[in-house]
Symmetry: C2
């Protein structure tokens, strides 16, 4: 996920810590040009046949969290968006309720989907109208329609779409065509190809003045409800509103096929592994180690800072990964205590990594003793994972030889980057060696 | 990579071992309906601006191997394809030569690219003509044009394209549109949207009777050379040949943006991790362990068989990963010996995993002794990686308690699957714990 710029389009120095994104809106609240109610409709009633998976793709898990929850979060963090109507199939209602609870989504209302995409969107729009079922939501001036399977949304682009919709009645994201588009004869031969430069792929999000898109759907024919796919076309046909087309970033892509889930995971992993905080402790060895690691990890593109200890009352950034340094191997009770401290200072809705790195100075523990400790640490790690923490350990061989020392440090950085980027459940609780 | 079916379109029982793919063509040689010369032109002169990376995407490495090498391999393994002309930018000539040498590509000729896609393809076609530079290749009856950045090609689809081109003069892969296509007014407003069902995205590969596409390029205007993107359109305009459009599989997608590299990696990793062979040894403990592991891994979708030992003269499948079982920790010399045996029985152009799993029965080695061994194994692993082998070790805690034992086995399978799927360089040489 690329970091977004501010609501007011002022170029802020890019923040490496993804959490700060959440504060950006707050910071710029006073200057935001959105002074009218905005809501979102998120159709998520599709069955996702193209992935070839049994779970609809919006509910597929990425790092243990359903795709749709990432998309909802992308809207929820924007303070000028009031509510998000998620339209799901009847059979997904309970699942969606669970997701909302588990990930603490506060702006969401669930609405039941229809038999086609257009019917589902219309059901979503009805949630703001007297004609809908259940308690009516406040009618927005502008409604944003998006896809549940496009999780990578940036606030600045949402702002562009919203302001353009407010001004022109309708707006939509477009992207250059990746492939040439061809028309076939009925026999399956090439009839003609379109000149690529003259056309665009219509993507999401799209924005509408609520009254316009609501009216368009009210005039929608049965054939349009059944075969249509383009909301912008409805606004044009039924309300004469010609949408502004806005070139969107490539991050707007849609998870369509099975392999796209791997892409989405890679993007999310990248955003979660941008930064780490080293907890150095007080002694010279670990403070020297911290300096080494900091330089090594920054050279790998990670943003790193260091503090001596985690203290009560401290607030650690949501997505920040933690590297704890110690001399000699930690006992499982020490690790447990440290994890508790971390949890108190962080919002653990977001998965993060705790990596415990220790210098093996004494080095004479017997193997059998180590077996018991290894087993205890693994149990700890399994338990932590249920609370969204990935726990790993790395033991450093202690050498006075400078070449050997450099090799160890390089290996340590390589392992650290891999553990933080991959956050593999299979390796949680492992004691690795560098 | 999905496994492909046979050349003769007979449905062969799906082979789990990707290597057998290589043999399929051989098996069906006698029945193949391609009895005319076929060649490939692979334009790879683009700069890949859309990935936002400095390396053109066709040269980006996936598991250490450049993307283009996977694509070349997809053609090379098809016995009825005679030659592959790869068109690269002048500055990539040396790099391409190195790739051909390193990955043992035998059917490839390099040609220098032009300033646009069409010019590059034409340069490729000239390699078969008297007008080209350097020694002329045998002129094919049918030429397949493809993209270097679409590595997932199956033989059965190539066959369809080739036979259709031979019959109709031209053929091309198409896919349903993922997004609606819109036309904009000059002011940037929606003019109209296309009815999605009537259009298709034109993908690759495309096939042509050589004389037709060659003639089409000879009549190509400057404007077409500069702005055109569609070979099928040239055949239609200049030779009146209307191409057959053939619905292709979703695996034909094109690596376009940075996130697509992660998808491609996931697909390749999946294909490389489909099967494993367990080397059980002779004793009862490891043979029991083998039965457990086999069941566990097969439940995870991996195809697994077991043999007692690797013997000289044996041939192990190219992509098969190896799991070696032993009682007590292996010495680094043992591991080294085992790796040598493996290398003699395999084609190590393909990266594979060696996982050494041992039951820690004696369990009393001192920590410092283990440190020396750990360091020796890591050095071994670093060396092995240069030869395309990923070496990992797992130590099993030995317990008579059946619940504990089951937990250990589940963890072992989870670790095994993760190591074989991820093949992470960072963890090579590690001694993990289950």
């Amino acid at each position: 996920m690329e970091e977004h710029e501010t609501c007011s389009e002022r170029t802020v120095e890019r923040q490496r810590d993804a959490t700060n994104e959440d504060c950006l809106s707050e910071l710029t609240k006073g200057r935001c040009p959105v002074n009218f109610p905005v809501a979102v409709v998120l159709p998520a009633a599709g069955s996702g046949e193209r992935t070839g998976l049994s779970t609809p793709k919006q509910f597929c898990k990425i790092l243990g969290r359903p795709l749709i929850s990432y998309t909802i979060h992308a809207f929820e963090r924007v303070f000028w968006i009031d509510s998000i109507v998620v339209v799901v199939a009847k059979e997904s209602h309970d699942l969606m309720t669970d997701i909302i609870q588990k990930y603490n989504h506060t702006k969401v209302k669930i609405v039941e989907g229809g038999s086609t995409r257009h019917r589902s969107i219309f059901n979503g729009l009805l949630a703001f109208s007297e004609q809908g079922f259940g308690p009516k939501l406040q009618k927005p001036k502008v409604v944003i329609i998006h896809d549940a399977v496009r999780p990578f949304l940036e606030e600045d682009f949402l702002l562009k779409i919203t302001l353009a919709a407010n001004k022109q009645g309708a707006s939509g994201a477009v992207r250059p065509l990746v492939s040439t588009v061809v028309a076939a004869t009925t026999g399956g031969y090439l009839d003609h190809s379109l000149e690529r430069a003259r056309y665009r792929a219509s993507e999401m999000p799209q924005g509408f003045i609520y009254d316009i898109i609501y009216q368009a759907y009210q005039h929608c024919s049965e054939a349009e409800f059944k075969f249509g796919t383009e909301c912008l076309e409805l606004a044009l046909q039924h309300c004469g509103t010609s949408a502004v087309l806005i070139e969107g970033p490539s991050s707007l892509w849609k998870v369509t096929h099975k392999q796209d889930l791997a892409s989405a995971e890679a993007v999310i992993k990248e955003s979660l592994s941008q930064s780490a905080c080293i907890i150095t402790g007080e002694c010279t060895e670990t403070q020297n180690l911290s300096t080494w690691m900091k330089n090594g990890l920054m050279a790998e593109g990670m943003w790193v800072d260091a503090i001596p200890n985690i203290e009560q009352g401290m607030t650690l950034s949501t997505n920040r990964n933690l590297i704890k340094l110690s001399v000699n191997s930690p006992k499982s009770v020490e690790i447990e205590e440290f994890m508790k401290m971390c949890e108190e200072t962080k919002d653990v809705l977001y998965p993060f990594v705790i990596l415990w790195v220790y210098l093996n100075v004494s080095g004479q523990a017997s193997f059998s003793q180590e077996n018991d400790e290894a087993s205890a640490i693994m149990t700890l790690a399994e338990d932590a994972q249920k609370r969204n923490i990935f726990l790993y350990c790395v033991r450093l061989s202690y050498s006075k030889d400078s070449t050997e020392c450099e090799r160890t440090m390089n290996k340590l950085c390589q392992i650290t980057v891999a553990l933080i980027r991959d956050r593999s459940a299979a390796f949680s609780g492992q004691m690795l060696y560098a």
